[in-house]
């Protein structure tokens, strides 16, 4: 009798332990694959060098905080610009805008540096509690390009534990604990700080050492968030931002107003870059309905087309900060306006600073991307020249 009882207990525990391992594998394997999958980036005709952010912040070497910096140097000297995508990896219009630049732009005057996966760790993280998809596919003329869909913050696998309160460096402002993993709260960073501070420090060092004139940090923001569909600029950048905003409205027909960068809110790129270097910072926000809370399921279709019946209903009640109708806010509109506004910022800077022009060609503008789709401007990695693809 006692042996039977023992056998039953062992059998029960074995079954439960098997179910436990099954759950771990079922839930864990997709996350493991997502974290370790790489995205191909084609080196376009204008790419002259590929650097690592750890070249500027050695504390990143060998960590998931390290990331690629693409350099597009023109034949003629001129000004220097930095484009940052994926500061928040759940706002993919920034990363895709950066990729369209990398794969298409040819710089004639000056140099453009591009970091497409600024928070590389965040791009390998996800938010299952919010039903985030792990990947999304952008349709192209030849098939589709698959990308990781990441999270706003870096993975706790790379930076853990979080403090109770994040004390910003160097201002000592108290920020939310989660912001210690948010690369738009850890500017200007420090060489030996938490990993995300080392990431922002790397970008600051790049800007200081290479004398970058203009930095454009590309984001997406909820339609219910007041700081959306805009260019955020500190005092020093506001003139160029205003001219860029007015020009795209007059010439290309879309709104993108200017928001002042608040001086008392620390850690943000549009504040700290200007305060700790000679670079003029700009932060672009395109409306991304997927990030709003009162929506339907968070599907990849919704991520791409930005159409949601709940937001449409809220729009009719005037609860959104952007115009919203049945056409939604598609990825094409978001990437298109980021491209046009970035190009316009470069043009306005070049007009204002004639001895340091930034002149480039080959980059589509808003109307082109809305008409043809983002995929038209993304190449086929399988057809790229040998050594012409960087896996990130």
């Amino acid at each position: 009798m006692k042996d039977d009882g023992m056998k039953r207990e062992v059998l029960l525990k074995a079954v439960l332990a098997g179910a436990f391992l099954g759950l771990v594998l079922w839930g864990g394997l997709p996350l493991f694959r997502h974290r370790h999958s790489d995205v191909p980036i084609i080196k376009g005709p204008g790419v002259t060098a590929v650097l690592r952010l750890s070249d500027f912040s050695p504390g990143l070497k060998g960590t998931e905080g390290d990331t690629y910096v693409f350099v597009l140097q023109g034949k003629e000297p001129g000004g220097k610009a930095l484009i940052i995508g994926n500061t928040h990896s759940n706002e993919p219009e920034g990363m895709l805008t950066a990729l369209v630049f990398i794969e298409n732009a040819v710089v004639d005057k000056g140099t453009v540096y591009i970091i497409p996966f600024f928070n590389n760790s965040g791009s390998r993280n996800t938010r299952p509690g919010d039903g985030y998809p792990l990947y999304f596919d952008v349709p192209t003329d030849w098939g589709s390009r698959r990308f990781r869909y990441g999270n706003r913050d870096a993975s706790p696998l790379d930076q853990w534990p979080d403090p109770d309160v994040y004390i910003h460096y160097p201002d000592r402002q108290l920020l939310s604990f989660i912001d210690v993993r948010n690369t738009n709260r850890t500017w200007p960073g420090r060489p030996n700080g938490p990993l995300m501070e080392r990431v922002t420090f790397g970008a600051m060092e790049l800007m200081r050492r290479d004398k970058i004139d203009v930095a454009v940090d590309i984001h997406g923001a909820e339609t219910m968030f007041p700081v959306t569909n805009c260019i955020v600029a500190p005092e020093r950048s506001v003139k160029i931002a205003t001219l860029a905003s007015l020009t795209v409205k007059a010439r290309e027909g879309f709104e993108n107003h200017v928001e002042p960068s608040p001086a008392g809110f620390r850690g943000l790129s549009h504040r700290e870059i200007g305060d700790h270097s000679a670079t003029l910072p700009f932060l672009l926000e395109a409306p991304i309905p997927f990030l709003d809370q009162p929506t339907g399921p968070k599907t990849t279709k919704f991520l791409l087309d930005g159409k949601d019946p709940f937001l449409l209903s809220l729009s009719k009640k005037k609860k959104l900060f952007v115009p919203y109708d049945e056409s939604g806010w598609s990825l094409e509109k978001r990437v298109g306006q980021n491209l046009s506004v970035t190009l316009e910022i470069f043009r306005q800077f070049s007009k204002k600073t004639a001895n340091r022009p930034i002149v480039l060609r080959g980059v589509p503008r808003y109307a082109d991307v809305v008409k043809n789709g983002v995929g038209r401007y993304l190449g086929d990695p399988a057809k790229a020249a040998a050594g012409g693809v960087v896996m990130n």
């Binding site: 207990e9 029960l12 525990k13 439960l16 332990a17 179910a19 436990f20 759950l23 771990v24 839930g27 864990g28 996350l31 493991f32 974290r35 696998l157 930076q159 853990w160 534990p161």
Partner: protein
């Protein structure tokens, strides 16, 4: 250094939960709960989530 300490703590709690699972003789509910508690700890130790 702090991260390493937290991994050690995680491993310690995982061993405790595992040991309680092995020692538990009566309650099936407790057995299931021990395993559920172990899932996030194991996923972190395996550097999955």
């Amino acid at each position: 250094m702090i991260m390493i300490a937290y991994y050690v703590i995680t491993a310690f709690v995982l061993v405790l939960a595992g040991w309680n699972f092995v020692r538990e003789k009566k309650s099936r509910d407790d057995l299931a709960l021990y395993l559920l508690v172990m899932i996030p700890l194991l996923l972190r130790l395996l550097r999955v989530k």
